[in-house]
């Protein structure tokens, strides 16, 4: 019987992988459902096993069974791992993804699974924490805080009840690495969490997954049930979000697990000291925890040698949006933005020129191609007024209206604001309104009203309300937009309100022409 491998990843299914799998089953093949290899332009991908070799075909439709099986299909890719997209990667975390049956304990064990956990359990907790520290692993959720330092704090906190919480509330547009890992290699995350539990003395863990990821939820739940005995006495459960982006913020996530409104807590106290249910808690992103088995199995050194500056190890970069070869690309830090977008991503899917890329999700900055020589590195991005975040890169072609994207950033913040702090709660809504005025003024240019002075003290402001009192001109509104962004950036309680100014201001700074400004200032970057 011919064995074929077809992804069960949600993206693959969205592209029709289930129908393809059914067709191969109907043709009498043994179909093994794997995770996704991570290159969506070749999905649905079918790999046919032949004398220990896996020959890839893709994209493939249900009608293509015969030609695939006889090898005549025109989308024959050969050994998938040899494709340039894969050959250039350093797959530490995603080594098994797309290759194994994600819910086969046997597959997992045969592909180096559990080696990290076994190694960790043979060591005293402090040694495990030391290894994580030595690896240079930094939190992959966005802030880039050293994981080992966090673990040390929890290890040292005195309590009978400590928790490991995995933040799998991957809500950033342009990112899907967490989802892919949970669907494609769930035991890896489980192993990472069990190691964390051993390292800090926690007995129970939670994986908080957003409800928009039904496949990941199902995969994790099944994997937890299958591996319960292997990780015992450590125990795990999945908690499902309910449509709140802000719950990706770690303290809001903790409140959500506790059954509360997912509002952001003020820090301090740090979750490491008073986290879930007030107890010391390790809260890490999926990719941070999933990197841990490799570090323990291969040694901290193996991980730390890869990377750039203070950003050590690999980063699973996600290429998204209007990009030809979208997908997941795991690589050591230091690769430039331009290489990722153009060389690996192959430019836009539409074939039009790239105009902007947004890095790090809805709270990340927009960069023009003029800045494509930026190396992928936490510090370099911060310096350039952006952030790596969860390493999602969303590509836009030249049809994009950056004022519209700035408005959308504010709108998204308004939709997802938890409503706790004022800058985010009111500011995001005002931001949409200001952007509407800017767009209206831009589109009806050059109607900048005559110079008007808006003096007036509070007294005046508080006692009269005339709708047309404000200056709705471009200049005044742009100034107001900058002031609002300043208030939000420095005044907000968490990154949702605090980082929304990044996309807004970067759009304004790098694409002023979309905001009705007279002259582009692109040259500066070049």
């Amino acid at each position: 019987m011919t064995r074929v491998y077809i992804s069960r990843d949600m993206a693959s299914v969205a592209l029709g992988a289930d129908d393809v799998a059914r067709a191969f089953e109907a043709a009498g093949c043994e179909v093994v459902r794997t995770g996704s290899r991570g290159l969506f332009s070749i999905e649905p991908l079918v790999e046919v096993e032949n004398e220990g070799q896996r020959i890839g075909f893709g994209p493939v439709g249900p009608a293509d069974v015969a030609t695939v099986l006889d090898g005549s299909h025109k989308a024959r890719l050969g050994n998938v791992a040899d494709l340039p997209f894969f050959a250039g990667q350093q797959r530490f975390t995603f080594a098994r993804c797309g290759i194994i049956d994600p819910l086969s304990l046997q597959d997992y064990a045969e592909h180096d699974g559990w080696r990290g956990l076994d190694a960790a359990r043979a060591m005293p907790p402090q040694a495990v924490v030391d290894a994580v520290k030595a690896s240079g692993l930094r939190g992959r959720g966005g802030a880039g805080f050293p994981t080992g330092v966090k673990w040390q704090t929890v290890l040292e906190a005195a309590s009978d009840a400590k928790f490991i919480v995995c933040n799998a509330d991957e809500g950033d547009s342009g990112t899907f690495a967490d989802r892919m890992l949970m669907e494609g290699d769930p035991f890896c995350l489980i192993e990472g969490m069990a190691i964390a539990g051993h390292a800090v003395g926690a007995g129970h863990g939670y994986i908080y997954i957003r409800s928009e990821y039904p496949f990941a939820i199902a995969a994790m739940q099944e994997a937890i049930a299958l591996s319960a005995a292997r990780i015992a006495p450590f125990t795990l459960e999945v908690r499902v979000g309910a449509g709140a982006y802000v719950c990706g913020e770690e303290t809001a996530l903790l409140d959500s697990i506790e059954g509360k409104r997912g509002q952001v807590r003020a820090k301090p106290p740090l979750p490491a000291l008073q986290g879930l249910f007030g107890q010391p808690t390790v809260i890490n992103n999926v990719l941070s925890l999933a990197a841990v088995p490799f570090i323990l199995a291969e040694g901290a050194e193996a991980y730390a040698t890869i990377g750039f500056g203070r950003s050590r190890g690999t980063m699973p970069v996600q290429l998204a949006g209007n990009v030809k070869h979208g997908g997941l690309y795991e690589i050591g830090f230091g690769i430039t933005l331009g290489e990722l977008v153009n060389a690996i991503g192959g430019g836009t899917a539409s074939g039009r020129p790239v105009r902007a890329v947004q890095v790090g999700g809805p709270l990340g900055a927009y960069f023009p191609p003029g800045m494509f020589d930026l190396p992928f590195d936490y510090e370099a991005f911060a310096q350039a007024g952006g952030l790596i975040g969860h390493a999602g890169i969303t590509v836009f072609d030249d049809s994009v209206d950056m004022a519209h994207m700035a408005r959308f950033a504010m709108e998204f913040c308004a939709v997802e604001s938890c409503g706790k702090c004022t800058p985010c709660r009111i500011g995001s809504t005002r931001g949409v309104e200001v952007m509407d005025r800017i767009i209206a003024a831009r589109d009806s240019a050059p109607a900048v009203p005559a110079e008007r002075h808006w003096e007036g003290y509070l007294q005046k402001a508080l006692h009269s309300r005339t709708p047309d009192r404000i200056d709705t001109g471009l200049e005044a509104q742009t100034t107001l937009l900058r002031d609002l962004c300043d208030t939000m950036k420095y005044g907000s309680l968490c990154a949702l309100g605090g980082f929304t100014p990044y996309p807004v201001l970067s759009a304004l700074d790098h694409f002023p022409e979309d905001f009705g400004a007279p002259a582009p200032i692109k040259e500066a970057a070049e």
């Binding site: 301090p268 308004a414 409503g419 809504t429 509070l458 709708p467 200056d471 005044g491």
Partner: protein, 948 residues
């Protein structure tokens, strides 16, 4: 004490660790306790950081973002409310940059806020307005045509305050106050983001929500969103007087805020050590009775109770009273008259009434309403510990690990203290409830008792002895404590007694109806769970075994070493505002102030010397004995100050017969109460707002009552008693209550250090306050019991003679409800009627079904003492076989049902156990109709003649 508004330091004090931290704030070196927020540290240093969401009675929240500061070496601008100080920190609270950020935030606030300051009820008293000025907001550049949350409908459902969501800034202070301070969790934020709104329960109006109208949210609100109706109606206050609430035994301190001569609102005072800035629906809002049109403002007399009242001058009324008492004594003997002091009046007034009786009447026929509530506490704790009072202050509960509540319903009876208790329970303390009813503490949002022992009414002693049985037989007692602090032989004798097999949980299970295993678990928790504190109420005392129960409680505390430090003890929750004080002041017929027996020659000698008369060495009559003597014809006259014995005392028929048999009943009260229906002289009383004095709360805390307004009736109560005394030939010359307190201090060792100037300086003092304890005594029996060795008393379970049987198969127990107070004379004359317009009979669904009773049906409630009718409330709060009602409404007259059984030692009535039958009925009973008719006739006041 300053009467200005208290400074809000923004965040609560740090939890004491003993360590302190030195930092620099705006260039000044400051040392503060570790854990203090930057905001609080700055405020205490005198520099104020703008804030809106922070207020120091709830935890910091960090939402308004006005309080941002600069900290050297740190990125960004941390919120000063949520950032704790640290060693060497250098903080700047003011800079151009900070001003810019704060202005930016304020601009956003004002962009979603109505611009109607001039017509807003909070104008001049609004934190948003104040902070907008403070951050120098000049203009709102966002305009006013964007999205807003304005224009939402006002919720005016609560009788005392309005909710205007248009003015809400979503700071969550109300929500947090409801959660953290009150512990009701009635408020939430609905929705999220820009659409976030404060919502009572499920987006309902306040009245139909879970809100208990404690006022914490109104207090917390920084804008006009939650505003007292009275402020809207009268305007913002312009002066204030700090005083003590006249409702329950918690003794909350309030700031009475006035506009001219009109009381605008009562605001809980943060420095009040009993309430710590919290309040309940009664003290906060239900003070309207003080100006109610039912108040009688002129003295009245009549020859017979079937005549209408006739208004007379004060002179005539006083002279008439004195003449009548003298006439009766001349005719029937010195001991033929007596009096009742009021637990609602001040210590000074109470002291004067008992002095009038002992000095002026020449006998000891004085009693007080503590007779019917906590007299067993006095007896029981005096016998075991040596002091007739609770052992702790309220703060102590925050150190308790196990809280045992027996026969008390704090969330209804002592709501402000209950909120503290609930806070401690939410922090993790364990709770044991011993009560026939499933009171709210057993299970309410975020609170759940570890053990509820729903015992059959009347079996307290059996239950407590069973707990003792477990503690002794499982050797869970604290031998070191007992050997050190008690008499070991007495303990051994008691231990033998409780260890007898017939007292085990298993043996008494058929009596108490509580599973033995649950009793054992509760006993183990109490004995081994850390600091264990017992709180009890009238469900302990108002039994034929009230005194035994109190002693059984004391035994448990001693056996487990839970006396003499913070977090433990035996704590009676006193009913009325000054019931502790009334007892302290010598209101009982057998003792002088400070609980000293009248037969003690040395003590009596002191009083004789001070008062210049010979005093009676024999105890006087207790209230029920006075009434017995009256029906027998030997007791003919009584002076009753501020108590409505007809409604509050058991067996109404017996009370009525006693009163009817007297020749001169003098009632001094605010209203023509039920007892006044049998009175010949009515002397109008004054409210707590109209006089100076002191109240003593359940934690022995003596607190000042301050005159807020002139007495509407012309005199404060103490002045009236003085007039009566002088008309009877005494020569009293008090110009101010402070002089009365000086006399009390001089004659009462436990009060020796209590003087008004000290109370002004300290705010309050807890007795004993004397040379041995100059700062008063928050916790008693620290180094030894007042009586020397703690005394274990064998408490045998003697069942009450009140038994159920075929005629009266159910057990009635009585109690009260949050919104009403005692006989309801005050609260029924306020909008609190909205929550509890009538007394209802709680009955278990099974008992109701057997009788064909539906929820809301009229039912007759009948005991061997009497019968009344009321409407049924079907609920599983009561166990099958038990029914429950309140006694707040005179038209129900629940005490028509209660019997004349009483505590063996103190005659405290057995309110809590009456065998009854319940049947469907068509409405009020004949007796209720007759009584209503009679009351109407009795309350007639003859029109004043035109010529005058």
């Amino acid at each position: 004490m300053s009467y200005t508004r208290e400074t809000d330091h923004g965040t609560p004090p740090a939890i004491a660790t003993g360590k302190s931290v030195t930092l620099t704030i705006d260039g000044e070196a400051v040392t503060m306790p570790e854990g203090t927020s930057i905001m609080r540290a700055a405020s205490l240093t005198g520099c104020s950081i703008p804030k809106l969401c922070a207020t120091d009675n709830v935890e910091s929240f960090g939402s308004c973002r006005l309080c941002l500061v600069e900290v050297e070496g740190r990125n960004g601008y941390p919120a000063s409310c949520t950032t704790p100080i640290s060693e060497g920190m250098v903080v700047r609270t003011q800079s151009e940059r900070l001003k810019q950020l704060r202005r930016g935030v304020m601009e956003l606030y004002i962009s979603d806020h109505p611009l109607d300051c001039l017509t807003c009820p909070a104008n001049g008293d609004c934190e948003l307005q104040e902070q907008a000025g403070a951050v120098g907001l000049r203009d709102v550049r966002y305009g006013y045509d964007g999205a807003t949350n304005m224009g939402q409908a006002k919720d005016q459902s609560n009788p005392y305050f309005d909710f205007d969501p248009s003015k809400c800034i979503v700071c969550s202070r109300c929500v947090r106050a409801c959660d953290e301070v009150q512990g009701t969790f009635a408020l939430t934020i609905e929705g999220r983001g820009f659409d976030s709104k404060v919502s009572p329960s499920q987006g309902q109006d306040f009245l139909s929500s879970e809100c208990v109208s404690c006022g914490a949210c109104v207090q917390a609100c920084p804008t006009a969103t939650l505003t007292e109706k009275k402020v809207v109606e009268v305007g913002t206050p312009d002066r204030a007087v700090v005083t003590t609430c006249a409702y329950c035994g918690v003794g909350c301190t309030f700031r009475a805020e006035m506009r001219g001569e009109e009381l605008v609102r009562m605001v809980p005072w943060k420095d009040g050590k009993a309430n710590r800035g919290h309040s309940c629906v009664k003290g906060r809002f239900a003070w309207g009775y003080a100006q109610h049109r039912d108040r009688i403002l002129h003295p009245m007399i009549r020859a017979s109770v079937d005549e209408p009242w006739r208004e007379v001058s004060w002179e005539d009324a006083i002279a008439h009273t004195a003449n009548e008492f003298r006439r009766i004594q001349a005719k029937y003997g010195t001991r033929s008259i007596g009096g009742i002091t009021s637990s609602r009046c001040t210590n000074e007034e109470t002291f004067l009434v008992q002095k009038l009786i002992r000095q002026g009447f020449g006998n000891n026929n004085v009693d007080t309403c503590a007779r019917v509530c906590h007299s067993p506490t006095g007896y029981g704790l005096k016998t075991t510990f040596g002091t007739s009072a609770g052992t702790q202050d309220f703060d102590s509960v925050m150190d308790a690990d196990v809280i045992l509540v027996i026969g008390a319903n704090p969330t209804d009876g002592h709501p402000v203290f209950a909120s503290r208790m609930k806070k401690r329970l939410r922090q993790g303390a364990k709770l044991i409830v011993i009560d026939p009813r499933r009171i709210d503490l057993v299970k309410s949002p975020h609170i759940e008792a570890a053990h509820h022992l729903p015992l059959r009414p009347g079996t307290n002693v059996a239950m407590l002895t069973a707990l003792a049985h477990v503690i002794v037989t499982e050797k869970l007692y604290d031998e070191a404590f007992i050997r050190d602090r008690c008499d070991w032989d007495e303990f051994a004798e008691w231990a033998d007694f409780v260890s007898e097999p017939q007292r085990s949980p298993e043996a008494v299970e058929p009596l108490t109806g509580v599973k033995a295993e649950e009793v054992r678990a509760a006993a183990r928790l109490y004995a081994t769970g850390g600091n264990a504190a017992i709180y009890y109420g009238l469900g302990v005392t108002e039994h034929s075994q009230g005194s035994s129960t109190v002693m059984a409680i004391a035994n448990l505390a001693m056996a487990t070493g839970n006396v003499g430090r913070e977090g433990v003890g035996v704590n009676p929750l006193r009913g009325q505002n000054n019931v502790q004080g009334a007892c302290d002041m010598g209101s009982f017929p057998h003792e002088f102030s400070g609980y000293r027996h009248v037969s003690d020659d040395a003590v009596r000698g002191q009083f004789e010397q001070a008062w210049g008369v010979a005093l009676d060495a024999e105890p006087g009559l207790r209230i029920p004995n006075m009434l017995d003597a009256a029906t027998d014809g030997t007791f003919k006259g009584i002076f009753i100050q501020g108590e409505d014995i007809l409604q509050s005392d058991p067996n109404t028929h017996h009370v009525a017969a006693g009163l009817a048999a007297m020749e001169c009943v003098v009632v001094q009260d605010l209203f023509l109460n039920e007892t006044a229906n049998y009175a010949h002289v009515f002397l109008p009383g004054s409210t707590f707002l109209e006089k100076d004095g002191t109240f003593t709360n359940a934690e022995r805390r003596i607190q000042r009552v301050r005159k807020v307004m002139a007495p509407l009736n012309g005199y404060a109560d103490w002045e009236i008693v003085q007039l009566v005394a002088n008309a009877m030939g005494l020569n009293w010359r008090y110009d101010h209550p402070s002089q009365i307190m000086d006399e009390i201090a001089a004659l009462t060792p436990t009060f020796a250090g209590v003087h008004y100037d000290r109370l002004e300086a300290e705010g309050s003092l807890q007795w004993p306050a004397n040379d041995a304890a100059p700062d008063g005594t928050p916790t008693m029996h620290i180094d030894g019991f007042v009586r020397g060795k703690g005394k274990f008393v064998v408490t045998d379970y003697i069942p009450t003679d009140e038994k159920t049987g075929p005629r009266f198969p159910l057990l009635l127990t009585t109690g009260r409800i949050l919104s009403q107070y005692n006989v309801g004379a005050q609260t029924r004359r306020t909008a609190n009627e909205a929550w509890h317009p009538e007394d209802r009979l709680e009955i278990h669904p099974a008992d109701a079904e057997n009788r064909g009773i539906n929820d809301g049906d009229w039912v007759s409630l009948k005991s061997r003492a009497g019968e009344t009718s009321l409407r049924a409330l079907i609920t599983e709060r009561v166990a099958p076989g038990v029914v429950y009602t309140t006694f707040h409404h005179p038209d129900t007259q629940a005490n028509v049902i209660t019997t004349d059984y009483s505590d063996w030692a103190t005659n405290c009535p057995e309110y809590k156990v009456t065998a009854v039958q319940v049947m469907r009925s068509n409405g009020p009973s004949d007796w209720q109709r007759d009584y209503a008719q009679q009351a109407r006739l009795s309350r007639r006041i003859a029109p004043v003649e035109a010529a005058e």
